[in-house]
């Protein structure tokens, strides 16, 4: 029992954790096997960013990726998914860009309910701990993002599903009864 617990509590290297830290905060962490300057480069050089931000295993791909990584610079990321006719768009502005240690940007696609994202890069020996912190303007804003699935960046299929679940009597194809 104790041995098992130990295995469970020792995270595998390079595991991703997500926690709702408070009513308004969401925190994602992961450790990378590289110095902070290299990990930072992968977040801030458009060519590198393009290669990982739309993971193939999720079936999403970039339609366009415009990033101007400097304080006051803006970004606009557009993704496509085979299950979706509408592209998914994410945009905002960089508030802070501190080389090798900190990035802060706004998420404006959701209007006023959008979070402010802070990413810190903390070098620990040969590794770097990345902590991504989303701060929402209110509890309602984060609850709303969760309820709509908007931040997830997943396929539209989930949105269709949400629509189906919240629209009584929504037409969802032929059924056995009328």
């Amino acid at each position: 029992m104790d041995a098992r617990r130990e295995t469970e509590s020792t995270p595998m290297k390079s595991r991703t954790t997500v926690e709702r830290k408070s009513e308004r905060e969401l925190v994602v962490t992961r450790t990378f096997n590289a110095p902070a300057r290299i990990v930072f480069d992968a977040w801030t050089k458009p060519d590198a960013l393009k290669r990982w931000w739309a993971p193939k295993s999720f079936g999403i791909s970039f339609i366009s990726c415009e990033v101007d990584v400097r304080a006051g610079g803006s970004y606009r990321l557009v993704f496509g998914h085979p299950a979706s006719e509408q592209p998914m768009e994410f945009f905002g502005r960089y508030i802070e860009v501190t080389p090798h240690s900190r990035l802060v940007w706004t998420n404006d696609e959701g209007g006023e309910g959008g979070a402010v994202t802070t990413v810190t890069f903390e070098q620990r020996g040969a590794e770097t701990l990345v902590v991504m912190h989303d701060l929402y303007p209110s509890k309602e804003a984060l609850d709303g993002a969760i309820a709509s699935g908007s931040t997830s960046g997943f396929s539209e299929a989930f949105e269709q599903l949400d629509e189906l679940l919240v629209t009584p009597g929504a037409s969802v194809g032929r059924t056995h009864v009328s």
Partner: protein
Amino acid sequence: MVQYTQTHFDASFAALSDATRRGVLEQLGRADASITDLAEKFHMTLTGMKKHVAVLEQAGLVTTEKIGRVRTCRLGLRRLEQEAAWIERYRQLWDARFDELDRVVEELKRQEKVDGRKKRN
């Protein structure tokens, strides 16, 4: 406690692939119903409907509650489960991104070594 994994994600789609199950979701969108009610409405045996409801329940699309002899079905997850499911989906997205990022970082490291060697030469 239901495990919200990629399998769970796929289960939602599998659950929706069947016309009867979509009909059941529509029906439950109008009002909660017992399995007996649903079986009657869809001209099915109780056993057949139980199987459909079990698939929907496994996918997290429907919850059921037994009160006395009647099992009542309703739409959706409980609030906390919904949040847990969303967080898990969000984690999977970032995990997938970070797996790709691992590869990019490895390549940047190799590149730096090559560039470093060039500079020294």
